[in-house]
């Protein structure tokens, strides 16, 4: 969020208003809120529910249903490793284990210094160049423990 402008609440209200008139506005609103604030708080759930005339349970239900939406902030870098079959066939699980050990985290966890979150994903459509990952939204493929180490060094910087 740009500093020194509106309060988080005012900013959330502004984002909600942007989408409010759209058909099926909930997902676009949640995506936008998460890309601005990094995660969805109970307070924002309340604002969204009020604006869309939904119950808080309905909004919370959507937030908790979809794997993408977070209720806690993620690390500064997000590593999404593919664990689906095509990547399994190219030793993706070995690469994944290497990454988890290197950062000392389990799936879905963030390093204690808040630098990196490692998440599992099931298919990035890069299956012809398996194993693959999405690192801060950038596609990476033909991963090996060595290439992952190089990426990790970048991320740790």
């Amino acid at each position: 969020m740009p500093e020194g402008t509106a309060s988080p609440e005012a900013e959330a209200i502004r984002i909600i208003a942007l989408h409010k008139g759209r058909e099926g506005a909930l997902l676009p609103i949640l995506h936008d809120l998460q890309s601005t604030f990094g995660f969805i708080t109970p307070a924002t759930v309340r604002l969204v529910a009020e604006a869309l005339n939904l119950t808080r349970a309905e909004v919370h239900g959507a937030v908790s249903f979809y794997h993408d939406f977070r209720e806690q902030p993620a690390g500064r870098h997000v590593v999404k490793l593919c664990r689906a079959e095509a990547c399994q066939s190219m030793d993706g699980e070995d690469v994944a284990r290497h990454v988890l050990e290197r950062f000392g985290v389990d799936w879905g966890e963030t390093t204690p210094d808040g630098r990196v979150t490692v998440e599992a994903t099931y298919c990035l459509g890069l299956c012809a160049c398996a194993p693959s990952a999405l690192i801060d939204g950038q596609p990476m493929a033909r991963l090996t423990p060595q290439s992952v180490d190089e990426i990790a060094r970048e991320v740790e910087r």
């Binding site: 079959e85 399994q88 459509g125 890069l126 398996a130 493929a141």
Partner: protein, 513 residues
């Protein structure tokens, strides 16, 4: 002299360094005072050769690959850069055997044109399908799609034209065209390639659908794991709007909506729930989406490839498409070779090609060079095939007869190190992770199935537990609301049936854990 180069911008090409190669080319050219024109294209789909760059010559486009940043100075040397004697030269792109033996209809332009140039799109035959549709009229357009024999490329294989006819025949104040671009099956990437490499094709297909059934609004629901596809589609829609090809003037509005990481949203009713702004829980059918779909209105919901096949069907006539194929599977299928396969890539061919030809001849065996042991066809809900079934023709009915499916055309190859009990366990675990929770067999059966498979892997009461899994799979198959629970038995039971040796293990000592 200006050198005209084509460098793919497809996400998979970027994932293996295409952007770095493009940057290195620009830098090296500057050093050598060469004038380069670099066109960023989609991918041709020869992924083992990516980044594959092409150079325009008097004789057509000549390909080089896989090109790394370190190869760039060597490619731009001497009087004639991109010499055909360079070790990375692959000859004329069209003559590469993997491309040459394909029948590219839907992927005709992919990897060739600038995805965001409408001029390029038109110059390569774009919008001829829509023109012919307008000449034919709405109902004749629907009948043309029926006549082509096109069936749902998302996996269900339902005749696309019949869906359209149902929506066309249902009267309502508002109708929708929804494109299912929630391509979540492992081993598939055809939708992604089209959206990144030829987005106007999908726009044209959806516009034709809207015209044919009388819908004025369309949504493309793209999974969030495809950020590049989202970006390209959004940009393409703006460009089409600027030229009056979408929007009020065209009588058809199109919007991109982004999913949020739920595999089950690839199921059509769950996708509609998600579009409406709810948890992506499956709806019971009937009512069919064609009668009561998005916001309760008649809705055509088709996969990306189904919609992207329509412009060519209209442009060249239904018969041309229907003449290709096998049995009741008409036309071509973009088959995606993935995983542990030497020539991994997109192979569009008429239905009927055998699995063995795909894996051994086209695919060239495994990437690791070890023997092929199992091939999963049709994504995480598809069956595992042993070599003994390699004569199976690529056809909806042939795969169904073997308790499998062709799904969205993904083919994932495994070498002899694969542990089929682990793969069966994964199928159940995946179902548990992605279950929408609405029906009991899927929500609970998947969890109990994973636990039971763990016991089999530990060698505990193998026969009794296999009987339990078999029984559970019957319940999943016949008691689930949608394909997630209903088809999870395919990978599980095919693994048990064709690879029984992996399920009979010595009892693990508890201390060994």
């Amino acid at each position: 002299m200006t050198l005209r180069l084509f460098v793919p911008q497809d996400a998979a090409a970027r994932a293996v360094g295409a952007d770095h190669v493009a940057a290195a080319l620009a830098e090296e050219a500057k050093k050598k005072a060469l004038v380069l024109e670099v066109v960023r294209t989609g991918s041709r789909g020869l992924f083992w050769l990516e980044p594959m760059i092409e150079v325009a010559t008097a004789d057509g486009r000549v390909a080089f690959g896989p090109v790394g940043v370190k190869d760039v100075p060597g490619l731009l040397v001497g009087e004639t850069p991109f010499s055909r004697s360079h070790p990375l030269c692959l000859g004329k792109a069209e003559d590469i055997p993997f491309l040459k033996r394909q029948t590219r209809i839907t992927f005709e332009r992919c990897g060739i044109i600038d995805p965001l140039s409408l001029a390029d799109y038109r110059a390569h035959g774009g919008y001829r399908g829509l023109e012919r549709a307008r000449t034919l009229g709405a109902s004749a357009t629907v009948e043309e799609v029926v006549k082509s024999g096109l069936r749902g490329r998302g996996g269900a294989g339902f005749p696309t034209g019949i869906k359209w006819r149902t929506v066309a025949d249902t009267s309502a104040d508002r109708k929708y065209i929804v494109c299912n671009a929630d391509e979540g099956d492992s081993g598939t990437y055809a939708d992604r390639m089209i959206m990144e490499g030829d987005p106007f094709l999908l726009i044209e297909g959806m516009t034709i659908a809207g015209f044919a059934v009388g819908a004025s609004k369309g949504y493309v629901y793209i999974r969030s794991e495809y950020p590049d596809a989202v970006r390209v589609m959004e940009r393409a829609i703006l460009l089409a709007e600027a030229q009056g090809l979408l929007g009020a003037e065209a009588g058809f509005d199109l919007e991109v909506r982004v999913g949020a990481g739920a595999y089950v949203c690839g199921e059509e009713t769950s996708l509609l729930e998600s579009l409406e702004g709810r948890r992506g829980q499956v709806r019971a059918k009937p009512p069919l989406p064609a009668h009561k779909g998005l916001f309760g209105k008649p809705t055509v919901i088709n996969n990306v490839i189904s919609l992207a096949s329509v412009p060519a069907i209209l442009a060249n006539g239904a018969q041309h498409y229907a003449d290709l194929g096998f049995g009741r599977s008409r036309g071509t299928m973009p088959i995606q070779l993935a995983g542990n396969v030497r020539h991994a890539g997109l192979f569009e061919a008429p239905f009927g090609i055998s699995l063995g030809e795909l894996v051994d001849d086209v695919g060239g065996g495994t990437r690791t060079g070890r023997p092929v042991r199992a091939v999963q066809v049709g994504g995480p809900l598809g069956a595992y095939f042993p070599r003994a079934l390699f004569n199976t023709p690529f056809d909806y009915e042939a795969y169904a007869a073997l308790d499998g499916l062709i799904g969205h055309g993904g083919v994932v190859v495994f070498d002899d190190r694969v542990d089929m009990a682990r793969q069966a366990r994964f199928a159940l675990e995946f179902c548990a992770i992605e279950s929408c929770g609405k029906c009991t067999p899927c929500r609970i059966g998947s969890v109990r199935g994973t636990e039971t498979m763990d016991r089999i892997i530990r060698g505990e009461r193998t026969e009794a537990n296999l009987a339990l899994i078999t029984d559970l799979c019957q319940t999943l198959k016949f008691g689930s609301l949608c394909a997630l629970g209903g088809f999870t038995p395919y990978p599980v039971m095919s693994a048990i049936k064709h690879f029984p040796e992996d399920f009979h293990r010595p009892r693990l000592q508890a201390a060994a854990e």
